[in-house]
Every structure is written in structure tokens, then in C-alpha cells.
């Protein structure tokens, strides 16, 4: 069986790095990460991912826009939204757009992994 692909988008390098390390080396997923939404959307047009984990607040294209684009291109790809703070309005908006899960930072790695496992086919 081929490995699941996961796309990570966050403008904080430390978040991308820690997530990539946890998911790639410990869980065996194939992970690509981007520091901005625009570059990530370009990549999404080229390649289908099994899962997208995106930050909400980013300069330029934000997490909601990423979510909408993913759902438009690949309706079955699950999206996890992360934010700097617990923000109810964002959570509700994301839920409307069929987000799989929603995490305020700091994120417990164990919880994130569990959420990803549940979402993958």
C-alpha cells in the first residue's frame, strides 16, 4: 500500500517543521509543507493530497480559502484547520465549509495524529 500524502501550510516555520517531523518520521506519511497559502494552492492544482493541515491566519490566502479550494478540487480530501487562538467564529465558519477538525495552538501532537488517522480512508 502506498503512503498517505499530507500537505501542511503554516507561515510559522517551527509549526511546519515540527508537524512534518512528527507525521513523516513517526507515522510514516509523505509530507510536504508550505509557508504560504498561494504556493500551497499551486501545488494542490498539480497534486491530490489525502489530507491538508492548514493554519487559519496567514498573509494573502488564508486557511478558509485553502479549505474552500481543497473542497472544490478534491471533495474527499479532509482538511484540518489550526489557529493561534481558540476562535469560535472561525471554527463555525470552517465547520460550514466541511472542515474535518479544528485545533487551537499549541496542538498536542498525539491528538493531531489521532485526528488524521480517523480522517484517512
Amino acid at each position: 500500500m502506498s503512503k498517505y500524502n499530507i500537505l501542511i501550510i503554516d507561515d510559522e516555520k517551527i509549526v511546519c517543521d515540527m508537524m512534518k517531523l512528527s507525521l513523516e518520521q513517526e507515522e510514516g506519511y509523505e509530507v510536504e509543507s508550505f509557508l504560504n497559502g498561494a504556493a500551497a494552492l499551486e501545488r494542490l492544482k498539480e497534486k491530490k493530497f489525502d489530507m491538508v493541515v492548514t493554519d487559519f491566519k496567514m498573509k494573502g490566502i488564508d486557511g478558509l480559502e485553502v479549505l474552500r479550494t481543497v473542497k472544490q478540487l478534491y471533495p474527499k480530501t479532509a482538511v484540518i484547520m489550526i489557529t493561534a487562538f481558540a476562535n469560535l467564529d472561525v471554527a463555525i465558519e470552517a465547520l460550514r465549509e466541511d472542515v474535518h477538525d479544528f485545533f487551537p495552538k499549541p496542538i498536542k501532537i498525539k491528538d493531531l495524529k489521532e485526528s488524521i488517522r480517523k480522517a484517512l480512508p
Binding site: D10, E12, K13, I14, V15, D17, M18, M19, L21, S22, Q25, E26, A84, F85, K105, P106, I107, K108, I109, K110, L112
Partner: protein, 865 residues
């Protein structure tokens, strides 16, 4: 005797400095309830700060994904809480301690990490003697460790000055080198040409002001050591010799003349070595961007060594921390480090004393020496025949080196890799000390195991309580059940400590302990923070681990962040191998390390011993140290000042209980049931700790009513000694004072010729709670009084107290335990106060000490005929 007579006699016994201080307090007449209110607020604020520190420790330990926003959000809250603690503490102590400057300094260091606001020193070059702890990053790991050895351990380090990372920045800026460290436009994915960077560095010049500073320092060096002296110019990069060693990655130039242009050339060589291909690969592995690592340089007076070598304070392969390995060769140590010749090997074993177990003399075909004809060069020459097979070191030197190495390891709290040299006069110099990486120990076959989790559905537990995982991790070793703090001296390396309660004293064994399990304790205790800082797997609050785990037995332990605890009999290979990878890899992420660096100014606890001279605001290096200082001094303040209430509040109420304890009560808030008047009965007491104490004192049979005969010698001896302590010698005290609140008791009680002091805080928050018990004096001679002290000591140790004894004075402390345990323990202390009352006259010999200790613990309080 009036209350004031009694108090003045108390004051006399407390010594001159305390007397002066108390008089000062009396003169100002502060209401005790106000002081108590401040004390409670200090505890609450400290507790909140410790909770925030705990939260930061958890979030930054590699099991959470975080970013700088988290730190920017939580740190201001922590800083504000510290400010509140300090403000309250100053009110409580009337500005008796200058704690603000210590906080302001640490706060500025943390702000520097978070916001990049520069606060470090202005010097670009400084002598090792002037390197203070907060300049660690600027002088680089290697130089910082040397400064610690020199300034704190007073070890023999060659005269050294350091060019800080600021000097490196200034050099780059002056030569406009930052530009070539960036990729060219359009080449963002490409790294700049490392060779071109190195060439540009070698072609660069020192900025004039830096050259001027260097010139002055070199003049001083020449004046001190003569114009023929030379320097070893050594790399000291920011993180070098820290979490990662960078061993052998950067240049070291030996035998450099103390002349400006020679030193500048050598420094540029060291700067350029940052861009050697191996060094770049190493930096990349640690997630450094090209040019991201900054270099400081240590210019160390060159020793012309007769013998040099390396010490490992543990066996890095077998993991045996009882072995100290020493290598030695003639001349310079370069051949020891590069392994090109067969050198001498010594193995020293650490037991009760250091002993040489093995001495293997190497052939030492060649040796390296300084080239006196060509400064800046070293020469390899054949070792003279008469020296080849001769041991380089006498047994005395081997043991001296081992002893120094042990001290260094103890100081840094982790096994060390140390470079040393012996000059022609026989003086030992330390040239470098860095953490030694040790391979995990060998493991045996799988054995049955027992798992428990915090989830109550998984009952039955191995232990009485589910336990709290303070620090996740995996460890294996022999169980060492600790009964008293001084048994830490015999703690075997690599063992698992099992103790009744946690203690900051455990910091002493941090380099050697595999894991810690305690019966009681909380996640916010000082020890818990220390365990997180050192990453030592730690479980607290198991209820009865000291009874369940067998002393000396071998176990494997795994504790994870979800609270799941696995304990396996024996060494379990599968567990040990399973989860170890995570943290190491996270630490290879530069941003992770950079942001986690903030914890170094927050979480570690350096101020451990309140009795030490170093227990001062000036020695606080972290916010945790400040909290510890505030807590300890607040408790001391309250203990001492409680007596002040006698003057400020005349409303003392006599307490009538079943035993003649002669207690008067002063309530400062919620300590009594409503509408009570003198005389009080036990039912009128609402103070939780006082109720518990009284329950013990009036325990059936504990307060012995039999007359115990004192001989004339005993009696005469006591009169002389205690005329100041208790002017009435009736043996039945009348004026003992209990200052109480709902959660607090301070009881000064003289009973006959001895003196009890109990101070306890007993709230719902374990982190705030303590029992302080002091016992001094007696009517009998010192031998008999000491026996009683021994008996009290043995009993209190059973209940987890930390104890200090000086002659017939015993001071016992217990802290950070849950309310129910404080109550239970105070009841025991009450029984003990009653039981020990005449015990000095009863104990005829050491066997009696054992016998009556046993009887007390069994609940049998009768005296034998």
C-alpha cells in the same frame, strides 16, 4: 511568668541577629492578620506562576506543536504574576530583600529571546573572569563552560579572553559579509558558495574599535605572561558543547603569538571554519540556515604540556557511570583526540572512594610538541625511547584528575568529556568540558509487566493511586527506596529513585538517576520542574510506590503524556527501544531549540539549599529560583513574626484540653468556630492544622502521665542551660501560644525544658502546604537529649520529612503534600510532641531508641519500667 517574659526568653534563644530583626518588627507593630493575608496571597500568586511554568514546560517538551505566539501570549502573564508575587513579598517582608533587580535582569534576558531586544553586555572582548552566567550564548558553549570551571569551581584554567558573538557580528558587518551569506537574487534555492565566503572572511579586516580593544587585551596578556607566551585560539560557537558537541567541526589554532595580526589571522581562520563542508553539513543537520550559526572565540594561554589527555566521567559505550576513563600521552593532546597513536588508558572506579581499576600503558610512538622555531605550528616527533613505554601519569595524578572530573560532573549534573594538560611543574590545567553522550545500556529479555493509567476504568492499579506523570519517558534500572535525604549520598548511578515525597534535594542525583517515583507530590513542585528540565521520567502521587516496589529490584518504566504508566519487572528490551526517538529529533530543529531556549531562564532550579550562603536574590538565575526564594523567605518570615501577634493583639484565649499543654490561642481568621470565649475547648477549634495537632496531642496514652525520675546531674545541667529559655522550671508550661487561622497554625510550645515549634499551612493546594517542626533542648545531659533527637528523627523520616540536626536541635520540613496528608502527619506530630515529652529521661541506650521508635510507630506509647 507573663507572656512578654516568655517571649523575651524565646527571643534570647533565637540569637542576636534574629533578636535584632524581631525587635525591629515589634517596634513597628504590624497586625498579624495583615501579615498572614500577604503570606497567603504570596502563596497563591507563586502557585499560579508555577502552574504557568509547568504549562510552558509541557507545551515546549516536544509533545506539542507551538509557535512564538504561544510564548508571546503566556510569558507576559507569567511575568505579571511574578511582579505580583514580588510586590506581595515586599509588603510581607517590608522590602527586606532586593529581589526586583534579579527579576528585571532575567525578564530582560527572556524578552531578548522572544522579541530580539538586545540586552546583553556591551563588550565584544572580555576576560574569562568577567563572563557571567547570563552571557552564556554570547561567549559560546565552550568558553562558557570554561568560565564556570574557573569562576564557580575555582579550577585551574589557563588565562583566557573571549571574542564574543558580538565581535563576529561586527566583523561581518564591517566587511559587508552578510550580503554574501545570502543567496544571490534568483538563486533562492541555492546555498552561497562556501569557498567564496571563506575567502572573503580571510580577506576581511577587524573593525578599528575591535582591533583597538584586542590590542589592549593583548598588551595585558603580554604583561602577565611575557612576550614569548602564545595562545591557543579556539572556536566557541553559540551552541557548541551544549546539546550538541560540534566536536571536531571547527578550527583550533595552537601556539599563536600574542601579537595583534597573528591573533586576527587565527580568529579569521576560526570564523572561516564555520563554512567548512563538514561543519556546514553538521549545521544543516541541526537545521541551521547557511550562515545562521554565530561564532565566539576563546583565546587561551597556550600551555606547553608535559602530558595531556581526555577524561570521560562515564563509560560512553557500556553506559557504566561508575567508571571514569582517562587517556594520557606525552606532549600535546592532539594525538589523544585524533586516535592516531596508542596512548595510556586508565580506568578509575567510583565507589565509596576512587580506585584505579586498570592501567594500560600505551606505546606512544610519536608525540606532538609546540614548535618553538615556528610560532603557530606544532611538530610531531618520535617519542624518546626512555619515555615510550613509561606511564605518563603516576597513580596520584590519575586519582587527582578523577577527583577533579567528578567535581566537574557534579557541577554540570551530567557526565562530562574533559580535556586536560599537565605542565612541566606538575600543575593540572582544564582546557575543555562538555556533556558526554552515552549509549543506552544493554537490555535483557522480556518479562511480565503491569500497566496502569490515570483512567479509573483500568483498575486495579499497581499502586494505590493512579499516579501523575510529571515527565514522560522510558527508563530501566534498580529500584532505590529512599528513607531519608542523607541516603542520597549512597544513591547508585543509574538507579530508579523511589521516595515518599519529592524534594529539591534530588537535584544532587540528577546526573545519575534513571527515573523518579514518589508516593506523594504534585506537577508544580520544584522537583517536578527540575525533572522536566532534565527530561527525567518522573511519576508522583502513586500513594504507595515505596511499599510496592522492592528495594534493589530491577524494573523498566515507561510513562507517556496521556498518563499511561507501564512498570515491568526486569529490563524490557521492547519498551526501551520503542519510543526514544521523538525528543532527540525535535531538538534537531533549530526553531524548536531557539524557542525552547526561553525555558533556560524560566524553569531550572539553582537555588536548592535555603541554608547555603548562595541562597540570595543575586544568585537567582531563573524565574523558578525567584519563586523558590520568595517562598522560603515568606515561610521564614511568618514563622518568626507569628510571635509578634502577642503584642499587637491582646485577645488571647485560653485553651482547655485533656492534657496540661498550657496553650493560649490567637485567631487571625477562621481558626475558631463562631462566638467563642475563653476558655476554649477542642470543639471550638476550626483551624484544620491545629485540630489535627490537638487530636494527636490528646491521643489516648500518648501524653504520658507517669512521673519520670530525673537525676540530680540532669536537673542541675538543665537549670544552667535553660535559664534563658524557660525561666519557670516547673515542667508544666502555662504560656504556650498558638497563632491560628482556618488553614494555618504556628505553635510555640515550651514543655518543661524543651521547646517545640510547629508551623504549618494546610490548604487544598498541595503546592502551598508545609509542615515545619523544630525541637530543641531537654532537662537531661546531651547524650540523653541526643538519643531523643535520634528517636524523633527516625520517626519523622518514616513520614517523609527532610531533617537537619545540630546537637540537640532538630529541624524537620515537609512540603508540597496534599491536605489530607498534612492533617494525618500533623496528628502524628501531635502524638510525637506528647510522646517525646519525657523521652530523654527514658532512653537508656541506643537499643532503647530503636525500641521506642518501633513502639511509637506501632501505636504503643507506654513507657517500660
Amino acid at each position: 511568668m507573663t507572656p512578654s517574659d516568655n517571649t523575651s526568653s524565646i527571643i534570647k534563644t533565637l540569637g542576636d541577629s534574629t533578636t535584632k530583626w524581631l525587635r525591629n518588627r515589634f517596634a513597628k507593630k504590624r497586625p498579624l492578620d495583615e501579615i498572614y493575608r500577604y503570606f497567603k496571597k504570596v502563596l497563591e500568586s507563586n502557585n499560579h506562576a508555577l502552574e504557568l511554568i509547568t504549562d510552558m514546560g509541557q507545551k515546549l517538551d516536544g509533545s506539542y506543536i507551538f509557535d512564538i505566539n504561544y510564548i508571546k501570549r503566556i510569558y507576559p502573564e507569567l511575568a505579571d504574576t511574578l511582579r505580583t508575587s514580588i510586590d506581595l513579598f515586599n509588603r510581607l517582608t517590608r522590602d527586606n530583600y532586593a529581589i526586583e533587580p534579579a527579576f528585571a535582569h532575567i525578564d530582560s534576558l527572556i524578552s531578548e529571546v522572544i522579541y530580539g531586544e538586545g540586552t546583553a553586555g556591551d563588550d565584544s572582548i572580555l576576560f574569562l573572569d568577567d563572563v557571567q552566567w547570563f552571557r552564556a550564548r554570547e561567549v559560546g558553549g565552550k568558553s562558557f563552560h570554561l568560565s564556570e570551571l574557573k569562576n564557580n569551581l575555582r579550577l585551574n584554567i589557563p588565562d583566557t579572553f573571549v571574542l564574543t558573538t558580538r565581535a563576529y557580528d561586527e566583523f561581518l558587518q564591517y566587511n559587508q559579509l552578510q550580503e554574501i551569506l545570502q543567496p544571490a537574487p534568483g538563486d533562492e534555492g541555492q546555498e552561497p558558495d562556501a569557498k567564496a565566503v571563506q575567502d572573503a572572511i580571510m580577506a576581511g579586516s577587524f573593525p578599528p574599535h575591535l582591533e583597538e580593544q584586542l590590542d589592549k587585551i593583548l598588551q595585558t596578556m603580554r604583561a602577565r605572561h611575557g612576550s614569548k607566551a602564545t595562545l591557543a585560539v579556539r572556536s566557541s560557537a553559540e551552541e557548541e558543547d551544549d546539546l550538541f558537541s560540534f566536536a571536531g567541526q571547527f578550527e583550533t589554532i595552537l601556539n599563536v603569538p600574542i601579537a595583534k595580526q597573528d591573533v586576527i589571522w587565527a580568529c579569521k581562520k576560526v570564523y572561516a571554519s564555520l563554512f567548512n563542508s563538514n561543519a556546514l553539513a553538521y549545521q544543516k543537520r541541526l537545521d541551521y540556515a547557511f550562515g545562521g550559526l554565530r561564532m565566539a572565540i576563546g583565546c587561551v594561554l597556550q600551555i606547553d604540556p608535559a602530558v595531556s589527555g581526555v577524561i570521560y566521567t562515564a563509560n560512553p559505550v557500556s553506559g557504566n557511570v561508575d567508571e571514569i576513563l582517562i587517556n594520557a600521552t606525552w606532549g600535546l593532546g592532539t594525538s589523544v583526540v585524533d586516535g592516531t597513536i596508542e596512548v595510556d588508558n586508565y580506568v578509575v572506579e567510583r565507589g565509596n572512594s576512587l580506585q584505579i581499576r586498570e592501567s594500560k600503558v600505551g606505546s606512544k610512538e610519536y608525540m606532538n610538541i609546540l614548535d618553538s622555531a615556528q610560532p603557530g605550528r606544532i611538530r610531531e616527533i618520535p617519542t624518546p625511547d626512555d619515555k615510550k613505554n613509561l606511564p605518563c601519569l603516576s597513580p596520584t595524578f590519575v586519582l587527582e584528575l578523577a577527583a577533579k572530573a567528578s567535581d566537574i560532573e557534579k557541577y554540570f549534573r551530567t557526565p562530562q568529556d574533559i580535556e586536560w594538560a599537565l605542565d612541566a611543574d606538575g600543575s593540572i590545567f582544564l582546557l575543555q568540558s562538555r556533556p558526554l553522550k552515552i549509549v543506552s545500556p544493554q537490555v535483557k529479555a522480556d518479562l511480565p509487566h503491569y500497566t496502569q493509567t490515570t483512567d479509573s476504568a483500568h483498575r486495579p492499579f499497581l499502586f494505590k493511586k493512579p499516579g501523575i506523570v510529571v515527565q514522560k519517558g522510558i527508563a530501566a534500572g534498580n529500584v532505590y527506596v529512599l528513607h531519608r535525604i542523607d541516603e542520597l549520598n549512597g544513591f547508585p548511578k543509574g538507579a530508579i529513585l523511589v521516595a515518599h515525597s519529592d524534594s529539591p534535594h534530588f537535584i544532587r542525583i540528577m546526573p545519575f538517576v534513571a527515573a523518579i517515583i514518589t508516593d506523594t507530590g504534585s506537577v508544580t513542585s520544584h522537583m517536578a520542574s527540575v525533572c522536566r528540565e532534565f527530561g527525567i521520567p518522573t511519576i508522583v502521587n502513586t500513594g504507595d510506590a515505596t511499599k510496592i516496589l522492592q528495594h534493589g529490584g530491577e524494573i523498566t518504566l515507561a510513562a507517556d503524556e496521556s498518563g499511561e504508566i507501564t512498570i515491568v519487572n526486569g529490563l524490557d528490551n521492547s519498551i526501551l527501544k520503542s519510543k526514544q526517538q521523538h525528543i532527540r529529533k525535535m531538538e534537531e530543529l533549530y526553531e524548536y531549540r531557539r524557542q525552547k531556549y526561553i525555558l533556560r531562564h524560566i524553569a531550572p532550579l539553582n537555588l536548592v539549599n535555603p541554608l547555603a550562603d548562595e541562597f540570595t536574590p543575586a544568585k537567582c538565575r531563573t524565574l523558578h529560583d525567584i519563586l523558590r526564594f520568595i517562598h522560603e523567605k515568606s515561610v521564614q518570615e511568618l514563622i518568626a513574626i507569628s510571635q509578634h501577634g502577642l503584642f499587637g493583639k491582646p485577645s488571647l484565649l485560653r485553651l482547655d484540653i485533656d492534657v496540661p499543654a498550657g496553650i493560649h490561642v490567637l485567631d487571625i481568621g477562621g481558626g475558631l468556630a463562631a462566638k467563642t470565649k475563653s476558655p476554649l475547648t477542642a470543639d471550638d477549634i476550626a483551624s484544620l492544622p491545629f485540630k489535627a495537632l490537638l487530636k494527636g496531642m490528646t491521643w489516648k496514652g500518648a501524653w504520658n502521665t507517669q512521673a519520670v525520675a530525673l537525676n540530680v546531674k540532669d536537673f542541675m545541667g538543665s537549670v544552667g542551660r535553660f535559664s534563658v529559655l524557660a525561666s519557670g522550671a516547673s515542667g508544666c508550661a502555662e504560656n504556650n501560644i498558638a497563632v491560628i487561622s482556618k488553614e494555618y497554625i504556628n505553635l510555640h510550645m515550651s514543655l518543661g525544658y524543651h521547646f517545640n515549634l510547629v508551623d504549618s499551612y494546610c490548604s487544598e493546594k498541595a503546592a502551598n502546604n508545609h509542615i515545619y517542626f523544630r525541637f530543641v533542648g531537654g532537662a537531661t545531659d546531651i547524650v540523653k537529649r541526643s538519643r531523643r533527637i535520634k528517636l524523633i528523627d527516625k520517626i519523622l523520616v518514616e513520614f517523609g520529612f527532610n531533617i537537619n540536626i545540630k546537637g540537640d536541635l532538630l529541624i524537620a520540613r515537609l512540603s508540597h503534600v496534599a491536605q489530607e496528608e498534612i492533617i494525618e502527619t500533623l496528628t502524628m506530630v501531635g502524638r510525637l510532641i506528647a510522646y517525646a515529652r519525657q523521652m530523654d529521661a527514658v532512653l537508656r541506650d541506643e537499643n532503647d531508641v530503636e525500641l521506642y521508635t518501633k513502639r511509637f510507630l506501632e501505636g504503643n506509647f507506654e513507657f517500660l519500667e
